[in-house]
């Protein structure tokens, strides 16, 4: 049975991943740490695109909201990290609901643009209130999760596992089923008695919840929050690419895509500027030749059996 095989594979990979700190250099761990948070971003995006059928060009709107909320609270109120993260989650969810409202009215490129603009606006607001947010510079946070690469890695891995499990089971649960139906054919879903709006709002909140937390954790790992890390459209693009690369509608595939993007970017660092070029070129080729994405391809194979 395919499902269980996927489960086993995941468990084995997790087991392996958890041993990495024992034999990998601090630097590589650092790269993987960011990659894991990135994976959560991509999974949350896939929940919206793959299941709710909403193309969100602005995942960084939710991430940025979370990240900056946490950063501001930590700086201004000096709350402990867990509280900051919790607050980040709340604000992100509110943002998610805001984003969901147009989603119920608009479709295709039109909704896409709104999400895009949401990011640009957030960016501008951050710059305007530079006095608090540090504007273009970004702001450093007094607290960090840990300075030990190992610990940071563990934290990220645990967080990735938890949110991965949550999102995966949500997507595979009855709710996920309904969501998928609603995303694919709202009319039919409605005539089966499902309140499409309700379920989409739920999906947006869940996606926002994890994006927000991940954003907050990321900046507590990096020790600083800046627009080009958690808000910039370039990041949003990377997230989308990661999800499509890993395989739409697979949730877990997004992690693979995310790790691939970040890792590739680092491996190619000696290429200087051109590293970005190579990564995007590879991504483009994958999209052209394996449109189902890496994991999606594997699963599709499995289904044919």
């Amino acid at each position: 049975m395919l499902r269980s095989r996927l489960l086993w594979a995941t468990l084995i990979i997790l087991a392996l991943a958890s041993t990495l700190p024992l034999w990998l250099s601090a630097y590589i761990l650092g790269v993987l740490t960011t990659a894991y948070y990135f994976g959560v971003f991509a999974m949350s995006w896939d929940l919206l695109f793959g299941f709710a059928g909403e193309v969100n060009f602005g995942p960084t709107f939710l991430i940025g909201l979370g990240a900056y909320t946490a950063a501001l609270i930590d700086n201004l109120l000096g709350w402990p990290i867990p509280l900051c993260v919790a607050a980040a989650a709340v604000v992100a969810v509110v943002g998610g609901l805001l984003l969901a409202l147009p989603a119920l009215r608009l479709h295709g490129p039109y909704f896409g643009l709104v999400t895009l603009v949401a990011v640009l606006l957030l960016q501008d607001v951050i710059v305007i209130f530079a006095h608090f947010t540090g504007g273009e510079i970004g702001m450093t946070v007094p607290d960090v999760l840990s300075i030990s690469a190992g610990t940071n890695y563990w934290i990220a891995l645990v967080f990735l596992t938890v949110s991965g499990a949550a999102l995966f089971f949500y997507s595979r649960s009855p709710l996920g089923l309904i969501l998928q139906a609603a995303g694919q054919d709202p009319t039919e879903a409605a005539s089966l008695g499902f309140n499409v709006a309700k379920h989409k709002l739920a999906a947006f909140s869940v996606s926002a919840f994890f994006s927000g937390i991940a954003g907050a954790m990321l900046i507590f790992y990096l020790g600083s929050a800046s627009v080009d890390v958690v808000v910039d459209l370039a990041i949003a693009v990377q997230i989308i690419i990661a999800a499509v690369l890993g395989g739409r509608r697979t949730i877990l595939g997004s992690v693979i895509g995310g790790v691939f993007l970040i890792a590739a970017g680092q491996v190619l660092l000696p290429l200087g500027q051109l590293s970005t070029f190579v990564v995007s070129a590879v991504a483009l080729l994958v999209i052209l030749f394996f449109p189902d994405g890496l994991l999606g391809h594997a699963l599709r194979r499995g289904e044919q059996e």
């Binding site: 709710l175 409605a190 005539s191 008695g193």
Partner: protein, 488 residues
């Protein structure tokens, strides 16, 4: 017969200017099957959508067990007890048949993260009832067409609705499958459900409905038992255009004429649905041939195959040359020009511009000449020359579509359902125009119609298409006797 489950009264729906449904009213009692029939564009599907809340009525009321539900959101109506079986649906690719049925059984709650165990059992019973038990574990992509329809049926009845709406229950099914479905639908009646069957024509549903409600151009034209409706004059005129007459026509060309188009053993599959089954027809030079058949019989598919718009098995030869792989556009340039059911006009452009585009491949001289001739053939278009195509009346649009096709100077003109949703007076004009084409030009015409009276006078030969197969071929004269009876 018990009290009315579903009561519809004074239902009216406008889309912009056009009135799709005008003052429709009927009621269905528990344990009753009502057939809602009418040709394409008669508004019957809109009525169904209005009941389901997919479209909001402008005026009128819809009562379910006495409670007013008009204007409710669809999901509320569904939960109130109305189920619908869509004709076309987009199943989820990654879920199994069982998952799909389970989906329909799930509560609309955000808190139920795990389906309760009973669901599984229920789903299996339903599957067994509609005859899906054999394919429970398969993905929709791998299902036969009939099974997909069964799946739709299963989903619709999962919530045990007291009213079931079924859109074209038998479209694309083989006779044996039809029997099976009829059984199922009758069983709904026996459970005291109120059932609404929406279909193009009485015939297909006659066997099982208690009453029939016939619509045309958004209005009620007849209501009563299947037989009474079939005998109803209005209905006959809509479908047959009155008594079948066969204007005796002078043979312009005899058997010896060379065949222009030869369709040999052509079959077409839409996904799993057999849209054409080993069809062979022949059209000779300067001949007018009509393919008559009910909606969904496969006429449009046949024409699209000829025009190279759908992939097919079998061979199609035009003027001795096998079409096979040539692009649709080049087929059109080669001389087979189709004037489709949907007309495909350039709505935002003027009549003139539409015609101009039709003549784009001609030399300037030829174009002006052709244009003059057509404006003479359809004088109304001359008056409307500068008007936007979208703003024309249905009849005028149809004439424009035909004229635009003729601008290409086709050797073979394919006319698909030119009478669709047109008022009788327009039919007259079209009829005349065709007659003139026949007598004054070298053109060959292949006409697809469900309106036999329109088709007969313009035909040298007739093919009858039914359930994707050619079931009769012959001269108009023999049609009434041999095929006419079983046609409606």
């Amino acid at each position: 017969m018990s009290e009315a489950r579903l009561e519809v009264a004074g239902l009216t729906k406008r889309f912009g200017g056009l009135v799709a449904v005008r003052d429709i009213g009927f009621s269905i009692a528990a344990g009753e099957i009502l057939g809602l029939i009418g040709p394409n564009g008669s508004g019957k599907s809109t009525v169904m959508k209005l009941i389901m809340g997919i479209e909001r009525p402008n005026t009128g009321s819809v009562r379910l067990d006495g409670a007013e539900i008009a204007g409710w959101p669809t999901h509320r109506i569904a939960r109130a007890g109305i189920g619908i079986v869509f004709q076309h649906s987009r199943p989820l690719h990654r879920q199994t048949v069982l998952d799909h049925i389970k989906l329909a059984l799930l509560p609309d709650s955000l808190l139920r993260l795990a389906a309760d165990p009973a669901v599984e059992g229920k789903a299996r019973t339903i599957a067994a009832r509609v005859g899906l038990e054999a394919v429970l574990g398969r993905h929709p992509g791998t299902l036969a067409f009939a099974d997909l329809r069964r799946l739709e049926l299963a989903k619709a009845i999962a919530r045990e609705p007291s009213v079931v709406l079924v859109d074209e229950p038998f479209a694309g099914l083989t006779p044996s499958e039809v029997a099976g479905f009829s059984e199922l639908i009758r069983s709904f009646r026996d459970e005291g459900k109120a059932v609404l069957l929406v279909d193009h024509n009485v015939k297909s549903v006659a066997a099982m409905v208690d009453r029939v409600f016939a619509m045309y151009l958004g209005e009620r034209i007849a209501e009563g038992t299947a037989d009474s409706v079939m005998r109803d004059e209005k209905v006959r005129r809509v479908y047959l255009g009155g008594s079948i007459e066969t204007a005796a026509r002078i043979r312009t060309n005899g058997e010896q004429a060379r065949p222009l188009l030869a369709v040999e053993g052509v079959s077409v599959l839409y996904g799993k649905a057999q849209a054409l089954d080993n069809v062979s027809i022949e059209v000779r030079e300067r001949e007018f041939v009509s393919v008559v058949g009910l909606n969904g019989a496969g006429k449009t598919t046949l024409f699209n195959a000829i025009s190279g718009l759908v992939p097919y098995r079998g061979t199609i030869r035009f003027a001795g040359r096998t079409l096979g792989t040539i692009s649709a556009a080049s087929i059109a340039r080669a001389g087979i020009v189709q004037c489709p059911e949907t007309r495909e006009l350039f709505g935002a452009m003027t009549v003139e511009e539409n015609l101009e585009l039709g003549g784009a491949h001609l030399s300037n001289a030829a174009r002006t000449e052709q244009l003059a001739w057509l404006l003479d053939l359809f004088p109304i278009l001359a008056e409307r020359a500068r008007q936007q195509a979208a703003t024309l009346s249905g009849g005028e649009q149809q004439m424009l579509a035909i004229a635009r096709a003729l601008m290409m100077r086709p050797r073979l003109l394919i006319l698909d359902e030119p009478t669709l949703g047109l008022a009788p007076v327009i039919l007259e004009q079209l009829s005349k125009a065709l007659a003139r084409l026949h007598t004054t030009t070298e053109i060959t015409v292949l006409l697809g119609e469900q309106n036999v009276t329109f088709a007969l006078p313009h035909a040298d030969r007739i093919y009858v298409l039914e359930h994707a197969r050619i079931v009769w071929e012959g001269e108009p004269a023999r049609f009434a006797a041999e095929a006419g009876a079983q046609y409606l």
